[in-house]
């Protein structure tokens, strides 16, 4: 039958138009997806550099998947049966194309079937595929255009790399940490910590730091206990180490106006000659100070306590106590502490800051006298009203202040923590030993 190609021709025309519309939609969808990914990559590249390899690694798989999906949908989207149904529904043909398509595929002999197909041919010839399946504008055109324009804008326009300063800052910080100076400081701090540990573990040193023997306590043991309680009182007063330090500094200034640098000595090499002469040999002076303190005053200061005060920034107060209450021996012990301070270069900055802050405070002429009274009050064990257990640790405050200080680099803080931890363990050990005392 010559009529059959006509119906098929119409159906194929309808099929082509439907597929054309679908293809346009697929292209728009692909562009939308590509534009979105492109905008993402371009925006990423605008803020932080992205390599082209990474960009193509994102784009290529997506494009391949989109192409495969479009091909499959185009292949399976619109069979001729659906074209016949759409023709019938689109032009109210009362299933004429559907019936004719079925009779084309399943030919039957008969006058009525031929008549049916003949009429279907006439109907199909009079149909306009463009009217049945009008050309459709793809959806999401605006979003696609927006994505593409956005991607182009990111690529072409000079978009400031907002994250670049942050990246530079991080790079500088990394470089700063990697500098040799920082390494030297870290090594130096570590070395200092190790040396402190060695000294703490040194038997000779421990002999010096050990508490007096029971026979020595007969003469001075009671005083030593009282002294410790007084020290505890003196330590309990400054909740804020800096504040207590300033009080002590004021008192020192009252006596040591002539030589304020004496309080800033951390390193013996930096001392003036007059003071440097007083302690030509740190070990010798330390031994002398130790001996004098035992002989002249009959009181023994726990060496560990002295070191503790030095490291917590309370060495000045300790020196005051040595001069006023303990006597000359304590003063020479303070000199010994100064020598040890000189070796603790890690806290040099902190100490200098505190000293400078203390110097800026207005001087109160009556303050030294009041301070002396306070110290005298707290030095006497019978006058103390502060329980020994309530005495706060000055090193805790010093530690927190030091760790919260921005001047301490991050890598140093672990070392500082270890340093104070070692001090705390040592103090605990000492407290246990004292607790076992009768």
């Amino acid at each position: 039958m010559s009529v059959r190609p006509s119906v098929t021709l119409l159906l194929r025309a309808l099929q082509a138009r439907v597929r054309s519309n679908a293809l346009k939609q697929e292209i728009v969808d692909a562009l939308l997806l590509t534009g979105a990914i492109g905008m993402l990559l371009a925006g990423w590249n605008a803020t932080m550099p992205v390599s082209m390899g990474l960009a193509w690694a994102w784009l290529l798989p997506v494009l391949v998947m989109v192409a495969i999906r479009a091909a499959l949908r185009m292949r399976m989207a619109f069979p001729l049966w659906k074209a016949a149904r759409s023709a019938d529904e689109g032009d109210a043909l009362q299933d004429e194309m559907t019936s004719a398509y079925w009779f084309e595929r399943h030919p039957e002999e008969g006058e009525w079937v031929d008549l049916h197909l003949s009429r279907a041919q006439e109907t199909a010839a009079g149909l306009d595929p463009r009217r049945i399946v009008p050309s459709q504008r793809p959806e999401r055109m605006g979003a696609t255009a927006g994505c593409l324009v956005g991607a182009l804008a990111f690529v072409l326009l000079p978009v400031p790399r907002v994250f670049e300063p942050m990246v530079d800052r991080l790079s500088d910080l990394a470089a700063e940490l990697a500098q040799p100076e920082s390494d030297d400081l870290v090594a130096e701090l570590q070395e200092t910590t190790d040396r402190e540990d060695d000294e703490f573990e040194d038997p000779e040193r421990q002999d010096r730091l050990m508490l007096p023997e029971p026979d020595e306590q007969e003469s001075g043991g009671q005083n030593a206990l009282e002294e410790q309680e007084q020290e505890g009182d003196s330590e309990a007063q400054p909740e804020d180490p800096e504040g207590s330090f300033m009080e002590a500094e004021e008192g020192d200034q009252g006596e040591q106006d002539g030589d304020p640098q004496e309080m800033q000595v951390d390193n013996p090499e930096e001392l003036p000659e007059s003071e440097g002469e007083q302690e030509p040999d740190p070990n010798e002076s330390q031994q002398e100070g130790q001996g004098e303190s035992t002989e002249e005053s009959g009181q023994t200061l726990p060496a560990g306590e002295e070191v503790f005060l030095q490291q917590g920034g309370e060495e000045i107060e300790q020196m005051e106590l040595g001069e006023e209450e303990v006597g000359h021996a304590t003063r020479e012990g303070g000199e010994e502490l100064e020598l040890e301070l000189g070796e603790l270069e890690t806290l040099e900055v902190q100490l200098q800051r505190e000293l400078l802050a203390a110097e800026e405070l207005p001087e109160d002429p009556e303050a030294p006298e009041e301070e002396e009274e306070k110290e005298e009050l707290v030095t006497k064990a019978e006058d103390s009203r502060i329980d020994f257990r309530e005495v706060s640790r000055p090193d805790e405050a010093a530690l927190q202040e030091l760790l919260q200080s921005e001047s301490v680099p991050w890598e140093y803080r672990q070392i500082v923590l270890a340093y104070f931890k070692a001090l705390r363990e040592r103090d605990n050990q000492k407290d246990e030993e004292e607790g076992r005392r009768p």
Binding site: P79, W81, R85, Q94, D95, E96, T98, S99, A100, W102, F103, H106, E108, G110, E111, W112, V113, D114, L115, H116, S118, R119, A120
Partner: protein, 331 residues
């Protein structure tokens, strides 16, 4: 093809001629008139349902007048016996005194039968029509008598008067191609009815169609091809009335005990072909099937207890099926 086109033209012309002639007497109810003609041309029968006074009997009388066919009217009553419909053997006596049995044909031997108020007779009497309606023949004793063609049974029943009635059994109902409901006429139609029946000159109809022409039209109807997807749609439509099939809708599963049978598909296809011819088409569409779905299946859907308790109209279920069943699909 020319002959086929001529047949289509003739079919349409004859059909409209009968419609117009009946319309001279019957006001309104065009769908019922069309349904009766479809039943006649499809070789089936029709059950007319309506309250008294709507012109059911008048319609059938008019059809018999329009068609050049034998017409008998049977008033069904509770004491009506099958022999009163089919006929009986009567003893005759000759002049010589010999006696013999002679079959006296009943009113069923006609071409158009009006079974008025068919539900007033007992099921035994109702079943006397079964063979005639399906086989177009009557068996009495050892003799089988063929009925003249075309043969059309038009039964009426009153849906309101239930006392003293016997609802038609399912087998009897299934014999009817269509069940047509006569609606109460509108005001305009009532004016027309009054004008035509209260004046001196009552409308007269003439015979416009004979039995042979009707048989030709029946042949024309059966010549119309139907594509398999459309036929499949008709089948799925019938299957959707069965609650156990996957095509069934929620209403079917809830209210239907048993759905329409294969005769329903036959009715749908034949009636669809007549609609296609009347629409000057030589192919059947799904719309043709939909248009005849209600009259062809409403009396074949048996409601379950819940459906009867809720007084569900089968038309509601069928309309839900028509609304939810997908259209033709590729086979």
């Amino acid at each position: 093809m020319i002959e086929a086109e001529q047949q289509i033209g003739t079919f349409q012309e004859r059909f409209r001629r009968v419609q117009n002639e009946i319309g001279k007497v019957i006001v309104g109810n065009e769908d019922v008139i069309e349904g009766i003609l479809i039943a006649l041309l499809a070789g089936g029968h029709a059950l007319l349902e309506g309250v008294p006074g709507l012109g059911k009997t008048k319609l059938v009388h008019t059809l018999a007048d329009v068609l050049h066919l034998d017409f008998h009217r049977i008033q069904f009553t509770p004491d009506l016996m099958p022999a009163d419909i089919i006929g009986t053997n009567v003893v005759h006596e000759t002049a010589d005194g010999d006696r013999y049995l002679d079959f006296q044909r009943g009113p069923i031997f006609a071409q158009i039968i009006l079974a008025d108020e068919i539900n007033r007779a007992t099921p035994k009497t109702q079943s006397a029509l079964l063979e005639a309606m399906q086989e177009n023949s009557v068996s009495v004793g050892n003799d089988t008598f063929a009925l003249d063609q075309p043969f059309l049974v038009l039964a009426t029943q009153n849906p309101l008067e239930m006392e003293g009635t016997y609802p038609l059994p399912e087998a009897q109902l299934d014999r009817f191609l269509f069940k047509l409901k006569l609606e109460f006429p509108s005001v305009d139609n009532l004016h027309d009815i009054i004008d035509r029946t209260t004046q001196v000159d009552a409308p007269q109809v003439s015979t416009v169609l004979g039995g042979d022409e009707i048989l030709e039209m029946r042949a024309t109807v059966r010549s119309v091809p139907i594509a398999r997807p459309i036929q499949d749609y008709a089948i799925r439509l019938v299957l959707a009335t069965h609650p156990e099939f996957e095509e069934a809708v929620d209403e079917t599963r809830r209210y239907v005990r048993y759905g329409a049978g294969p005769r329903a598909v036959q009715a749908l296809v034949l009636a669809g072909k007549i609609h296609a011819l009347m629409d000057d088409r030589v192919h059947v569409s799904a719309d043709d099937i939909r248009r005849v779905a209600l009259p062809a299946m409403r009396h074949r859907v048996l409601l379950n207890f819940e459906g009867e308790a809720d007084r569900v109209d089968p038309d509601t279920i069928l309309q839900a099926i028509l609304d939810n069943l997908p259209g033709p699909r590729e086979n």
